[in-house]
């Protein structure tokens, strides 16, 4: 009874000071609306995780360490017999490459060579949208004015380098497509070379010749939509046979962001129109239904104003605030209007009618709003910042809508609805809607009688359904893929299909391997005696530099003995050199030790036939041989092996190769690129000499530390010397494997992670390696994991809150629990359906779970509250249920339809998450409406004795 006074008072404000209330609402709305111009948008799904989330920090660290950038992937596909490897297409690809490289700013406008660039949006609507959402397609430059495209890191045939052995045997370092082929034969040769390079095969070049990939690295991924627009503009005039596809996670994410805003600008107003039409259909009085529309619009404006005013970005989640809020915001008003309209004929006085309606509805409305708020607010328990912001703001909006409904609706009716119009229109309206009510009414009546009279069967069916639901839930696949956020016919999806069919995959993940801090090396002396057990001397100080010093001295000593002979060879005229002049000189030399002299003379006599340069050379060779072993080389070699960093060690490199083989034979990774690929290619090009078995012999991971070191030096002086350091750090202690996945499915990424884990478990690396992941595809997996866990927590949290609220509301544990049952059934059936249909449990689905709870309990509250009230008045459930299935059931049905239909504009969206939300919410409304009426009626019938006995006890006490 006390509660009613509260509601009574609140509504009294609206009844007593309607003008002030309306003015207050107006000023508040204007106040919040003034925040709008400060709006900022955030398209970055990475922000699903907090800035300081370890995986994001690691991702940035890896990008920094290996100088990696996010890519826009441009695929050129030609289905002709020669594929893209024909002079014309290659010419176009080269031209595009040069144009991209020439991107610069002139008078604040982007300019490229040989092209009249028009990027500004054409058409009024596009311009308006661009202005409203602060989209500027000409934003292609960093703060310092330099191009958003990292030009020196562009991957395209004209600008990637190659180390290649020419037919002459000479080593050639040049750009892969240094010159554009002029004939088909040249194009074929270029293809052969490109496909032979493991760095480019299936990344830039497809094995079927049909496709060529250009990877455009960006200073920041937020440029990707604009860069893809730029590429589209540059290739718009290309002939039909050269199809251009643009893909990559950054483009997908950025495009989604842009389209999301357009979506927001269309579907929210559309939802408003839908709701208006429905209300018009139910109530037939435009003046009356303007009120709920005002409630909805005011709540949306104030909530968005608050969000912007608090400095939050409009993110994928918060863009859905308007569309979530509108149907919910009108719900309370619909209840009030519904009752008002039903009560009016009995009282025919506005103020008294409103007071009566409010007495009826205040408590259920308060609780339905509170539970809805609890459902949304529970999202604050998730570890995902944009979801938190979304949840809290919708909760705020729902609260505001409730206050507006309770205060402003009465004020509105007092001010704007004349009693005359109510009287005059009530008659025809009653008739007009009579038919409709009859249809709905008789249906509800049948529903009620089935539920009550056949409660056993109904409950049985429910239990079976629940069983199927749980079975379905157990089949749920947790998965997300930003590319699948687009409809199948979307250009992004098409590009994704085409390019991932040709290449190793356009989804990037980085697998980093880092050597753990090294144990102290054994001392140089220990290492040396290990290799040269016969060694008995050595330097005093046991350091490598001392050992080198010592070795040099040793070598000098043995060399010195031969110096006089070398001096002789230097002194004598080589052209006239003969055996006898040489023998003469040696014999006369006083500096040569006797032993060496004898050896030298023997050398000369062995080369008697030679003279001049030949003799000179032969003598040098002989001396080399006699000198033989050099300690300095020996020490250096031992030192090199002892000190070798991880990724110069042949065993580690071989292990990486094995890991790659294992990954490429698995299902999830399309291609992996590591420094071992670069080393193998280098090894082959340096050593092959035109034999068939060359490839098997030389296309191998380096066999020694020295070979690795020397190949690395070659790789570090390629035309693009930085390329090497994308794969290994300059200290060779850390390596980066670039994995290409054919699908952006989080599951595929997870599979790759699992494959690596099981490989490492079965094949432990030769040294301790820290294995880590980065890359956008991987980041998505991490936030997905957080989301699933977070949503479960949120669901549990809001469940507890709502149960407590229900117990308080009904002052009864049993009714509190009872009220939860329809929504439990709803959630189970909905998610069971998701499991059965095979729809992935992705971000939108997860977010829906906890707010479903807050929304679908509403029907149960209204139903049970009303049922108890009627039972209290009339005595027994048996008498009451036909009444329940009249007006109360109708009000609940209207509400369910309004909300469900209010979300349907989302079904028209070109973006899948919105479609999903639209479809699921409509389903949830339908199921929870049915569950409330049928399940609760059956349960009340089954347990009426027990339930209402306790009720009457309670009232009597």
């Amino acid at each position: 009874m006390k509660n009613r006074v509260h509601g009574y008072n609140l509504s009294q404000i609206g009844l007593k000071f309607p003008l002030w209330v309306m003015l207050g609402v107006l000023f508040m709305t204007i106040g919040f609306a003034t925040r709008f111009p400060a709006v900022t948008f955030d398209n970055n799904p990475e922000n699903m995780l907090a800035d300081d989330e370890p995986v994001r920090l690691r991702h940035e660290e890896v990008k920094e360490q290996f100088a990696l950038y996010d890519f826009v992937v441009v695929g050129v596909v030609n289905e002709g017999p020669e594929g893209v490897w024909n002079p014309e297409t290659l010419q176009r690809v080269d031209h595009l490459t040069q144009q991209l490289l020439s991107l610069r700013q002139e008078n604040g406008k982007p300019v490229v060579d040989d092209f009249d660039l028009q990027l500004a949006p054409q058409g009024k609507r596009a311009q308006l949208l661009a202005a409203a959402f602060k989209q500027n397609p000409e934003r292609l430059f960093q703060a310092d004015g330099s191009s958003a495209i990292i030009k020196e890191e562009l991957i395209a045939p004209s600008v990637v380098d190659t180390l290649h052995q020419l037919e002459s045997g000479m080593l050639d370092i040049r750009f892969l497509m240094q010159n554009v082929p002029q004939t088909q034969a040249e194009a074929d040769a270029l293809f052969a070379e490109a496909i032979g390079n493991p760095l480019y095969r299936n990344t830039m070049v497809s094995e079927d010749r049909k496709a060529l990939g250009i990877y455009i690295p960006l200073s920041e991924k937020t440029y990707s939509y604009n860069v893809s627009t730029l590429v589209e503009a540059l290739t718009a005039e290309w002939p039909e046979e050269d199809q251009v596809y643009i893909t990559g996670l950054p483009v997908a994410e950025d495009t989604f962001g842009v389209e999301m805003l357009v979506q927001m600008a269309t579907s929210a107003p559309l939802a408003g129109v839908m709701i208006f039409l429905l209300l018009l259909f139910f109530f037939k009085r435009p003046t009356l239904i303007v009120a709920p529309m005002v409630v909805a619009i005011v709540s949306v404006i104030c909530t968005m104003g608050l969000l912007i005013g608090l400095g939050y970005d409009v993110h994928i989640m918060s863009s859905m605030i308007a569309i979530f809020l509108m149907p919910i915001a009108v719900a309370d008003s619909v209840h009030i209007l519904s009752e008002f309209y039903d009560t009016w004929p009995q009282i025919r006085e506005k103020r008294a009618t409103i007071e009566k309606v409010m007495n009826h509805l205040f408590m259920p409305m308060l609780f339905t709003s509170l539970t809805t708020m609890a459902g949304f607010a529970s999202l604050a328990l998730t570890p995902i910042p944009p979801v938190k912001v979304f949840g809290m703001h919708v909760a705020f909006g729902v609260g505001l809508a409730w206050i507006l409904s309770v205060v402003m609706i009465p004020a509105y009716i007092m001010l704007f609805v004349s009693e005359k119009s109510l009287n005059s229109k009530s008659q025809p309206k009653q008739n007009a809607s009579g038919k409709h009510h009859d249809v709905l009414g008789s249906f509800l009546k049948r529903l009620g009688s089935i539920s009550v009279n056949h409660y056993k069967s109904v409950l049985g069916v429910m239990v079976i359904l629940l069983g199927f639901a749980f079975w379905g839930i157990s089949k749920i696949q947790v998965n997300d893929n930003p590319v699948l956020w687009f409809t199948p016919s979307h250009r992004i999806r098409e590009s994704d299909r085409v390019l991932n069919g040709h290449f190793g995959g356009t989804y990037t993940a980085y697998l980093t391997l880092a050597a753990s801090a090294k144990d102290a090396h054994p001392s140089p002396a220990t290492e040396m005696t290990l290799v040269y057990p016969e060694l008995t001397t050595g330097p005093q100080e046991n350091t490598w530099s001392a050992w080198r010093e010592w070795a040099r001295a040793e070598d000098d000593q043995s060399q010195q003995q031969w110096d006089p002979l070398l001096d002789i060879l230097d002194r004598l005229d080589i052209d006239t050199l003969t055996g006898s002049t040489l023998t003469d000189a040696i014999t006369r030399s006083g500096a040569l030790p006797e032993k060496i002299k004898a050896q030298a003379l023997a050398m000369v006599s062995a080369s008697e036939d030679l003279r001049g340069e030949d003799l000179w050379g032969e003598m040098q060779d002989q001396i080399d041989q006699a000198l033989g072993f050099r300690w300095e080389n020996a020490v250096t070699q031992v030192q090199a092996e002892a000190e070798a960093p991880a990724f110069k060690r042949p065993d580690v490199l071989a292990w990486v190769e094995k890991l790659q083989d294992s990954l490429s034979s698995g299902p999830s990774v399309g291609k992996s690129t590591s420094v071992v690929d670069a080393l193998k290619k280098t090894s082959y090009e340096l050593q092959r000499d035109g034999n068939d078995e060359d490839f098997d012999l030389y296309y191998q991971s380096p066999a020694s530390v020295q070979a690795a070191g020397q190949f690395y030096i070659q790789l570090s002086q390629m035309k693009k010397k930085d390329s090497l350091y994308h794969l290994v750090t300059p200290d060779y202690e850390q390596a980066n494997l670039w994995l290409q996945l054919r699908s952006g499915d989080n599951q595929k990424m997870q599979d790759a992670v699992n494959e690596v884990e099981s490989f490492v478990a079965e094949n432990p690396p030769p040294i301790d390696l820290k294995i880590d992941w980065a890359g956008l595809t991987y980041i998505n997996v991490v936030w997905q994991e957080k989301m699933v866990g977070g949503m479960l927590e949120a669901l549990a949290g809001s469940f507890v809150v709502v149960v407590v609220m229900m117990i308080v509301l009904f002052r009864s544990v049993i009714f509190g629990v009872l009220s939860m049952l329809p929504l439990l059934l709803t959630i189970s059936l909905t998610y069971g359906l998701i499991g059965w249909v095979g729809k992935d449990y992705d971000m939108p689905v997860a977010v829906l779970s906890s707010l479903t709870l807050g929304m679908s309990i509403d029907f149960a509250i209204h139903f049970l509250q009303r049922a108890r009230e009627l039972v209290r008045q009339q005595g027994s459930w048996q008498e009451v249920w036909p009444h329940m299935f009249a007006e109360p059931a109708k009000a609940i049905s209207r509400n369910a339809i309004v909300i469900a239909v209010g979300f349907t504009p989302l079904l028209l969206a070109p973006l899948m998450p919105y479609k999903t939300v639209g479809f699921l919410l409509a389903t949830i409304m339908f199921v929870s409406w049915l569950a409330t009426l049928v399940l609760l009626a059956s349960l009340l019938s089954a347990f009426q004795g027990f339930l209402f006995k306790s009720n009457s006890k309670e009232t009597s006490s």
Binding site: E64, Q65, A67, R104, E152, L166, S168, G169, M170, L171, D172, I173, R174, W544, R552, D555, D556, Q559, D563, L566, D570, I574, E613, W616, G617, Q620, D621, D624, E632, N633, T636, Q637, Q639, A640, E643, A644, K648, S683, L686, Q687, P702, S704, V705, Q706, A707, A708, G709, Q710, I713, S716, Q717, M718, K719, K721, D722, L724, Y725, T729, P730, D731
Partner: protein, 262 residues
């Protein structure tokens, strides 16, 4: 012609005479600077200690010995024998520079695979052993490839603007070189891009007179785009040590002569 590795020098007297006679042209200064920087003495040797510092501050060390012998008409032969890091010890380059803009002959010996590879003539602006020096810095850029314009000078320096005749072969638009008036050593070169921004700078940090020849003993190249730099320190510099032309053959790639090991 830039500073780079200044193995050589010309006789100052020659310059002085020329100075007295007529005003110098850009071509003349460029030529004398080339002589000073690359052709000092009849032959020479030097130990180079190279420290490469990348944008993240990581350092890499290289050590190599250079043996050089001048020939006629600006021909030149040189060896580069590596000593550090330990795993590339004995790796060696042999270059026969043809002078007059003709392509150099280059050979590479990789001891780990016991193979000599001949290097095809090609781009000379690729990195030298992963440093910020390019091959051209080591061997000298042919004077014929640029137009040399003498800019209004500074008190102690001639400033020459060098504009490549073929821009497609280079990664810059032009470069200015500061040449000391007293000894014709180039001491600074700045490479600019199309927008006039300096993208690369080479400086001679220390100059010592060795065997009577002004010699750069430390030089630095900064890559301002990559934010990396390389510092070369020259030790054990000696001129006119009597190197034999026959040393500069493939044989001594594989097994350095005693001149290279001492």
């Amino acid at each position: 012609m830039k500073i780079h590795i200044p193995f050589y020098m010309i006789l100052l007297t020659t310059c002085s005479i020329m100075l007295a006679d007529e005003p110098l042209t850009g071509d003349a200064v460029a030529e004398m600077a080339e002589q000073a920087a690359y052709y000092a003495g009849k032959d020479g040797k030097s130990d180079v200690h190279m420290v490469i510092t990348d944008a993240n501050g990581q350092e890499r060390i290289r050590e190599f010995r250079v043996l050089r012998l001048n020939g006629e008409d600006n021909k030149q032969m040189f060896f580069v024998y590596f000593n550090e890091p330990a795993d590339v010890r004995e790796m060696a380059y042999l270059v026969h520079k043809q002078g007059g803009g003709a392509e150099d002959d280059r050979w590479l010996w990789l001891p780990a695979i016991s193979k000599v590879n001949r290097i095809a003539p090609g781009d000379k602006r690729t990195s030298f052993v992963g440093s910020d020096f390019v091959y051209e810095d080591i061997s000298g850029r042919s004077l014929n490839e640029d137009q040399h314009e003498l800019l209004p000078g500074e008190a102690e320096y001639y400033v020459i603007r060098n504009t490549p005749k073929d821009l497609s072969k280079v990664d810059f638009a032009s470069y200015d070189v500061w040449v000391r008036k007293d000894n014709f050593l180039p001491v600074k070169a700045e490479y600019v891009d199309e927008e006039g921004k300096v993208v690369r700078r080479v400086t001679a940090d220390k100059i010592e007179v060795i065997d009577g020849i002004p010699t750069v003993t430390q030089s630095t190249v900064e890559d301002l785009r990559r934010e990396s730099k390389t510092v070369n320190t020259f030790r054990n510099v000696a001129y006119n040590i009597g190197l034999n032309e026959r040393l500069f053959s493939e044989r001594y790639l594989k097994r350095p002569p005693r001149e290279a090991t001492r």
